[in-house]
Symmetry: C2
Amino acid sequence: MAIGAQSASTNASLAIAQRSLGDPSISYPLMPPLTSGCPRTSTEEIAYPVEVVFDYARVDRALFDQPPLPGLERWAPLLPPLAPGVAMQDGGTPLVDVPTVAAWAGFDGELYIKDESRNPTWSHKDRLNLCTVSAAVLSGAPGVIVASSGNHGAAAAAHAARAGLPCIVLTSLTAPTAVLRFLLAYGAAVVTPPPSGHLPAIRQIVDRLGYMPMGNLTVTHTGHPFGPEGYKTVAYETFLQLGRRVPAAVFVPTGYGELLSGAWKGFRELRDLGLADRAPAIVACEPAALGPLARAVREGRPAVAVGEAETEAYAIACTVNGYRSVLSVRDSGGAAMTVTDAELYEARRVMGRDGLWPELSSAAGVAAFRQAVAAGQRFDGPVVCISTSNGFKDLDGDRPAVPQLGDDWPAVQRALGHYGLRV
Amino acid sequence: MAIGAQSASTNASLAIAQRSLGDPSISYPLMPPLTSGCPRTSTEEIAYPVEVVFDYARVDRALFDQPPLPGLERWAPLLPPLAPGVAMQDGGTPLVDVPTVAAWAGFDGELYIKDESRNPTWSHKDRLNLCTVSAAVLSGAPGVIVASSGNHGAAAAAHAARAGLPCIVLTSLTAPTAVLRFLLAYGAAVVTPPPSGHLPAIRQIVDRLGYMPMGNLTVTHTGHPFGPEGYKTVAYETFLQLGRRVPAAVFVPTGYGELLSGAWKGFRELRDLGLADRAPAIVACEPAALGPLARAVREGRPAVAVGEAETEAYAIACTVNGYRSVLSVRDSGGAAMTVTDAELYEARRVMGRDGLWPELSSAAGVAAFRQAVAAGQRFDGPVVCISTSNGFKDLDGDRPAVPQLGDDWPAVQRALGHYGLRV
């Protein structure tokens, strides 16, 4: 049997409806995906997302008697319908032990990094876009569109390419050069937004052409309702990788909170299906310069907008949060933490000693975890920090100066001394 | 049971000796690794490598009754001894189906990419460096050193960091900025070579400090004898991913040919252990500007040196080959092909349509495969092209120009028209 035979049938999904998070008594048909959130409960100030409802009574628990290999179509019953040919061995990312990070954080328990840079386009976003591009294909949309600082756009472009759909990516004027090449490599139409901003431009293309948005269209974040479902697989894999255990806590780099809420839903399902005896605390980790979710949680509000502010963690630099992330933090007994750029740089430096090179934003989980330990938090079991992507996605900057070796030994010693190596 | 419990015991290896490829009747003890090749058969013109010998009679075939997950320590019996803590969930990279590439090449069989960019440092080199850094640890070396254009150095640095060993990387003055950051992220001492060149500098540091070289020290290539053993796992995984089938042919981007010869040895072992009924043809894919292996094979010589020449496939731009790659091509009934930079760019462009963005060098397998099909070659089974790394490793170049969307519809149409999208 060839590996290709693993491709999911669209029939395998047990998704049956969409449900409003603004008022869970309100349901909608599964199709079309409500990409602008719940039309009945949303207001001009806040957009409430919808989520996918599954027929859990029909879930065969043997689904979890398989190894956590790549290929998310293996989880098809608990995903929205997948279109043939879109999947590309997504997910199946490893848990990596990080003893140096654990020691640095003052933690003597089990600490792991879920290394999402080992996805097809080297970020977690592949899991989301497998689901959203599939939705576009199954809806008959003639193309897809997304505003993205990089990872989301590349994952959309790669999966759209496989689906044979055109993909428009609105990216920032300050996108790193490498990220522009990355987006263009998959044949995406990469453009910078017009003076009126990216939301009106996307709405215009959606309205005129019927393109399906892979990202957000609303004033506070709802995103594509099928997207976070893809992130549930982070929970399924982690559960199996820990030997059918659930972490005490999961620290998640957080922009709009889709990864956060998807992972939470996956763990909740494992608990509700009776496979796990608990679910972890979900800890959101935002840049301190912004932190809309932290503020929403602190103020007991469903969503807030904060002012623009500078952070080099551009992949998670969001000025609004989504309601689904508030629910996830609250329902899991988690927290919404913030980390400074200086903490991110230091966390990343230490992750390098364990052989990992995350994107700056991806170090947010580790940076917040250290804060939590320093604040005296205890963990009743393993802790997992999700690292979302790799250091190649970072902002352009100066070329590092590296010394030249000399031919004579004193010159060699001088060059190595630059790194503190005394030889 | 935690994932950490998968860590290998060094006792699990069935490696028993080193054997000269210059004269297979000559054996050496397993330790120390003969990093300058076979001392008895090598001459001033050619260095003959040694390889690791295993006690195959003691291999439990149940080793192959496991899923091809990351974590090469699962293959410990058929690897050189692994040191504790060095492994970081290496390997376990997926086979991805590439229908657009297959159609472009005019091939109607099964075609897969083995996507090695899904390793811990996003290239195949992690498999090699797990073995060579382990050898350094188990030999008591106080550090490791390697000359590398990027991938090899980063994989060495990441694994050395986990081992707590200093790592010196000699890299090129023209290394891409991103690659310098990549190497520095793992705490490596990154230097450019002295006027006398990298070989004398490495030998000096090896001789004075006892650092172990992770790469080549010799006039023609031998490399570290334990390194290619790590690449055998590419064969083991592929065999399992194909449902216990063996490909008809494997196309391998080729610099010094370590990946090539390691993969060949793995497939040969599967056949010799009675697990597979055949072994694939191994096809080396070198840059046409250089091609020392192609010339050695053509001229029936064990190794040749060619003159320097320009290619943008810098990761596989080698002016000498190693004897082990000549043996692999010959013994497997394979071939040594070459591809131009133009063919690499075109192959990479088409791979993007299947959602893959390889480093330019990594497209060599696909480029050569198309040549082979065009030349009328037939394949009696699936074909696998190995893609070694990702496009983020490529040479610095100009920032791509991307159009700005206008606010009015004609301006939107113009911007999208730049990409041939008629909307």
